[in-house]
Symmetry: C2
Subunit: 320 residues, 2 copies
Amino acid sequence: MVGIKEIAKMAGVSVSTVSNVINGRKNVGKETRERVLQICEEMGYQPNLMGKSLKSGKTNTIVFNFSDFERSFYLKIIKGINDYLSENGFDLIVCTTSSSKNFMRNNFAGGAIVLDKKMDNEFLASVADEQFPIVVMDRIVDNDYIKSVIVENYTVMCELVQSLIDKGFRDFGYIGGIESSLDHQERFQAFKDTLEKNNISFQRTNYYFGDFTEESGFRAANILTLSNKLPEVLVCANDNMAVGAIKALKESNYSVPEDISVTGFDDSSIAETYGITTVSIPRYESGYLAAKELVEMIRGTANKDIFKISAKMKWRNSVK
Amino acid sequence: MVGIKEIAKMAGVSVSTVSNVINGRKNVGKETRERVLQICEEMGYQPNLMGKSLKSGKTNTIVFNFSDFERSFYLKIIKGINDYLSENGFDLIVCTTSSSKNFMRNNFAGGAIVLDKKMDNEFLASVADEQFPIVVMDRIVDNDYIKSVIVENYTVMCELVQSLIDKGFRDFGYIGGIESSLDHQERFQAFKDTLEKNNISFQRTNYYFGDFTEESGFRAANILTLSNKLPEVLVCANDNMAVGAIKALKESNYSVPEDISVTGFDDSSIAETYGITTVSIPRYESGYLAAKELVEMIRGTANKDIFKISAKMKWRNSVK
DNA sequence: TTGTACGCGTTATCAT
DNA sequence: ATGATAACGCGTACAA
């Protein structure tokens, strides 16, 4: 924990000279500069972040806030964020809800990327600021200093359903996710709209409730098997539920895709293992782009539009 | 960004009185205290972290440092750490190598948990301190202020191999991991020792190189299928390689476990999906206990021993 | 019970 | 080219 003072003493100069050397200012003699740099090197001097930003009121630290430890793709998002930020000279700290609030309120950080549902819009609006812009993922917030980065669910779900229709499917089942989530709403809306556009009716009885967990997919499909007639294809709002559904169907001696086709959403690793037709969401890129948007806000070069991440279909053999 | 000064002015008291109120000291009149708290509440006052720790030299922020975004069980470790720390009033920040170094050098944080191989022992030794203890995971460092928390690979691998012997297996194959890693060394040593103890010979030709990736397991098993005689059981240093091996064996029309048994290590979710007999490592608990050890070091109540996390065998149907 | 003054590590301003 | 000093927000010893 060697500080600027000690360096100054050792070099026989004043602290301001050391500061000038460190910050690459030109008002320092060559000889002095070299001596100081030499000593910094030897002592492993690193500027103290808090002294620095206490004085300057600025920081290069960005907060990423999340709280759901169940979804492994969060690591990919973090990696994307981390890569962009480190390429651009920012430090990233990742925290969960309560700690995040600490770090978001002082001028400790220069911005935040928020993925935590528990972080409510009201709080975000109260801390967002020209000096502290925020990027929210998977949520839309109307605020000049908060930018939304969301996955383009609607378009790709339309594409998925249309492709199924083109393959000849007419009788659809659907397992939904948590109804309050934007992901659920957009995916289900796209599903309904595409059927309607093709004049295919969708009975409400073919809708099954789920909450994005494998268990809920399992339960939903078990209920489905009790009906007298299986749909031709079961569209699930995410992969976990699709896996649960496939397990339940197999237990009831139905085979996928011979007796019923199944689709998921997310392209999680488990979807690959089970060979589920799904939608691939570029998680790493989402994180990278969210970080990019945030940095642009900090630099004042961002536009106000919602940033939409596009996703791609991935055909596998869970569809006949 | 309201500060202690403004609160003081609004309450008509001095800054030190406000400070005393906030820190719960008793030398403040009841009436004054209530008025100050009232105003803090109204203004949403939050103490500035930098001013605070710049002055006091103490913080209850803990750094967790990692860099491998491929292993999804890292999220479980983080959750374990997060849970223990928040139960005990600490804030957690998670960062990768370069940022971590920043936060570990100032007195910004009160301790660190390190899981990042890129964070070398030399650096750790240079920052570890009575005021800044460190817990390292999966590594052994000899330093008074650095404590190791490692998985007890040896014992459980002995148990696994002994169980296989007890089931009648005599002819063993082994796919190893990265040879420089502690995990590899301990697991392989246990494997060899247990065979020797039972007077079972192990031919070096039955050892296959791997690097903990699925691909390396796939390649290793492909080479294995070219030999004129398969071992009865293939012990793999982790699950990923076991999965790769199983895929390769299936491609060569061998069935598991009928033609050859396979075991893994880690109990990753993919091992569950493939029904692989493996060793379950309590990741969440590892994180929780690492955090606990660190907090005890901070409080000066820790002992110096290496902390070993015990793991348990998990039988599934990849073994005959 | 309350206030004043100082110092934490840094940078910026101004003087030398 | 270099140095002295104030200021950032806070906590604390000590004075009142």
